[in-house]
């Protein structure tokens, strides 16, 4: 159920762009995040809400400002659950294949 929300949140280019912007600089205000985005403030707020519901963005108050932070923990979980599992076999096979080619090159 949590995973559904995370995948849904990630399945949108604007939301992925907002995550990238937070990765480049964390702890940003809404005003900061909407600058340079071709979208209304309301639109950006809606996207941030989806990211918050998925746990990918967490907000903190700092005086009068509301700051948005990237929370990497759910992405890590998705990575461990859905990415590691499928890449481990083929990736290690390809790494082994590459090594064997390199050894052949050297022996020639």
């Amino acid at each position: 159920m949590d995973d559904d929300r995370i995948f849904k949140a990630l399945a949108d280019p604007t939301r992925r762009m907002l995550l990238d912007r937070l990765f480049a600089q964390d702890g940003r205000t809404l005003g900061d995040l909407e600058a340079g985005v071709e979208m209304t403030r309301f639109g950006v707020m809606k996207h941030l809400r989806v990211l918050e519901d998925a746990g990918l963005v967490v907000t903190r108050r700092n005086g009068r400002e509301k700051l948005h932070f990237l929370n990497p923990v759910p992405i890590r979980r998705i990575h461990d659950r859905w990415i590691d599992k499928y890449t481990e076999g083929p990736a290690s096979f390809l790494a082994g294949l590459q090594r064997s080619f390199e050894e052949e090159d050297r022996s020639e």
């Binding site: 480049a24 702890g27 903190r60 923990v73 890590r76």
Partner: protein, 143 residues
């Protein structure tokens, strides 16, 4: 380059605030998920020791409000290069979500003058620790 001077991590745990509090303050719990570190947090002092008893960093506890809030200084004594950097601060906040779960938020800040520590704890650093903590407390509470 990403700005890492304030880092925030949040995880939802199917456990009570008391179980989470114990998991972050009792050395026989922390050693199971915190890179083997025996971490002890009292109302006054935070101590982290390696499995062999080596100093992995200690410092004053600034806030101690069981089972809700713990704030302590962080010193990276586990690595000689990182140990040269000034202390930073780690805050643990536990919120009861009212449905048998709680939300744990970890903020590691005051890292402005400790860029090496900031890099070493970022992303997979705290991510791995909190994932291990989640597994530990949820295993204990599983029916």
């Amino acid at each position: 380059m990403s700005d890492l001077s304030t880092q925030l991590y949040q995880v939802l745990l199917r456990a009570t605030p008391e179980q989470v509090w114990e998991a972050i303050t009792a050395p026989d719990r922390t050693r199971l998920y915190f890179h083997g570190a025996h971490v002890e947090n009292t109302a006054e002092w935070h101590t982290s020791r390696g499995p062999d008893g080596a100093d992995w960093g200690d410092g004053p506890v600034c806030e101690f409000d069981p089972p809700r809030r713990l704030v302590h200084e962080w010193r990276s004594a586990y690595d000689p290069e990182l140990a040269k950097e000034p202390p930073s601060r780690v805050s643990w906040e536990i919120e009861d979500t009212g449905d048998g779960s709680c939300r744990l938020t970890v903020v590691h800040d005051r890292l402005d003058d400790s860029p090496r520590t900031a890099r070493s704890v970022s992303g997979p650093g705290w991510g791995t620790v909190l994932d291990g903590l989640k597994r530990l407390v949820e295993e204990v509470t599983a029916p």
